[in-house]
Amino acid sequence: MRTLLATVAIALLGARPAWAVLGQGMSSVSSDQQRLKGRLRSATGEGFSLHEITAADGTLVREYVSPAGEVFGVSWRGPAVPDLAELLGDYFALFQQASRSDVRRHRPLVVRTERLVVEMGGHVRSFRGRAYLPERLPVGVSASAVR
């Protein structure tokens, strides 16, 4: 990240955090500011901008926004798993479909489709994961940027 644009303290509003939504516009990041119990830090990087939100419970969510203003990746880390239905938005149905299995997998979850990649890991007290849209990565940005 080259430039740290802003560090904004957000007032304690709303009951639980809501996150920007994969595949949607910058405004979904902005709307978080109205509802979050936490801090938002934004930065501009090589080919994308990064918005980092620390929720009151310590969960860190990063949102990756393309120059066209679309959220193409999100990542999270914290003591609990954030609401993936909120984070993944329209892609959540695809996630559920692709992660369904007829036998129980006792392992970190990996979902790989052409349109959506989701990876989750961790253990009690520390969960992490990331999701991105392979077809929506900005030019020159690799998937490893979403971390």
Binding site: D83, S101, R107, G121
Partner: protein, 408 residues
């Protein structure tokens, strides 16, 4: 994970049988038990049998199981539940309510509202249910009045959306792959101080559940899910997971031991094991393929080694529905270095075999099953074969220092 399924057969003791089991246990206390001597504390069995098998669902590869006896607190009204998965990636005893025949007292908050607990698992499933209290016994070790979770208890509040998170409910034998989970990680409680502080900062783990609906709650440490080992009257500073080696093509079942206490008896000394202390979430560092991976942990509840992604290390994922696992054309041997917060480090060599070939053997226990991950290094059950792995609980003192640490 293999595609096999089998009809589930669960042994659920009736009350009369449970009382009989309690009587047998009491009788056993008076006699000499194997493997325990020294310490000046008399003879007491601190060794609990464990087995790697497909488990009560008949479908879990590399599941580590044991039996747990629970009792109504302070009574001899007890029940033994088998097929409970031993999970060092979580903390606390969680039992499917459908497998519990005892009527256990529930835990309520200061307003008399029931407390619910939410467990999140990394396969995006969750376990939800009320907190209850039971005496918990394994071998001759008995922890009194332990807060436990009853998963999917009839009549209890519906799962809050903060808990479900759009995931699937691990609320049955087939969905959980077990009759319960015995969380024996390095912590005393599942959540700890994050859940006992201001409710505004509490993660969605504990919920207060009045009739109007559940909301996230702050719960005192002593009412949270507990690692039962640290509540034993003795041998309470940690435990050992001891499993023998398995052949490259796996084994149908593997028998081993949980040994309670570290350095408290003649059978649980650290001997030559190296101590790796952890960070505040129980992780250490693994250096592998030129990368330093700080989120590394030992997890009997993960059924393989899960590390890096297939693009990074060139291990092809298995085809079809098994892409969660790796399918190299022939077995690959890797070496990684594990490093504790204390700077101690050691090399670990491990094999990755073709997962489909392994599954086709029909075996249940494999020391060479692996799959991709990103960011973490999850040393799952394969790590535990052929060695003793020590788990020292936070705040508990041992000859190797104060927990939390892993040693091997």
């Amino acid at each position: 994970m293999s595609g096999r399924r089998a009809v589930t057969r669960v042994r659920a003791h009736g009350r009369a049988a449970a009382l009989l089991a309690g009587a047998v246990t009491l009788a056993a206390c008076g006699s000499s038990s194997s493997g325990s001597s020294g310490g000046g504390g008399g003879s007491l069995n601190n060794v609990q049998a464990i087995e790697v098998g497909l488990g009560p669902s008949g479908s879990l590869v590399n599941g580590l199981f044991t039996s747990v006896t629970i009792c109504v607190p302070g009574t001899s009204n007890c029940q033994t539940i088998d097929g409970v998965q031993v999970d060092t990636g979580s903390v606390g005893l969680r039992l499917l309510a459908s497998r519990v025949s005892l009527s256990l007292p529930r835990i309520a908050d200061g307003n008399g509202n029931a407390i619910g607990n939410c467990a999140s698992f990394v396969d995006n499933s969750y376990a939800w249910g009320p907190m209850a209290t039971a005496d918990v016994q394994m071998a001759d070790e008995k922890a009194p009045s332990v807060p436990i979770q009853l998963i999917n208890a009839p009549g209890f509040a519906a799962v809050p959306s903060d808990c479900a998170n759009g995931g699937t409910a691990a609320d049955s034998v087939s969905a959980l792959g077990a009759n319960g989970l015995l969380g024996l990680g390095v912590f005393r409680q599942d959540c700890g101080s994050a859940c006992s502080g201001p409710v505004s900062r509490a993660p969605a783990v504990y919920f207060s559940c009045p009739a109007s609906g559940c909301s996230v709650a702050s719960v005192p440490l002593q009412s949270q899910l507990q690692n039962p080992v640290w509540l034993f009257p003795q041998d309470n500073n940690g435990l050992i997971v001891s499993l023998p080696e398995v052949p490259a093509q796996g084994a149908r079942t593997v028998s081993g031991s949980l040994i309670f206490g570290i350095g408290t008896r003649s059978n649980n000394g650290l001997e030559g094991a190296r101590v790796f202390t952890t960070d505040d979430v129980g992780d250490f560092v693994t250096t592998f393929n030129g990368a330093r991976i700080s989120s590394s942990y030992l997890d009997t509840g993960s059924n393989g080694y899960f590390f890096l992604d297939s693009d990074t290390i060139g291990l092809p994922p298995c085809p079809d529905g098994d892409s969660d696992f790796s399918c190299p054309p022939s077995t690959v041997t890797y070496t990684a270095v594990t490093t504790g917060l204390n700077g101690a480090s050691t090399q670990v060599t491990f094999n990755v075999a073709n997962a489909e070939t392994l599954f086709n053997t029909g075996n249940a226990a494999f020391d060479d099953l692996a799959g991709p991950d990103t960011g973490d290094f999850d040393w799952g059950l394969p790590f535990f074969f052929g060695r003793k792995t020590f788990i020292a609980i936070e705040g508990q003192s041992t000859a190797g220092g104060t927990g939390p640490y892993w040693a091997y």
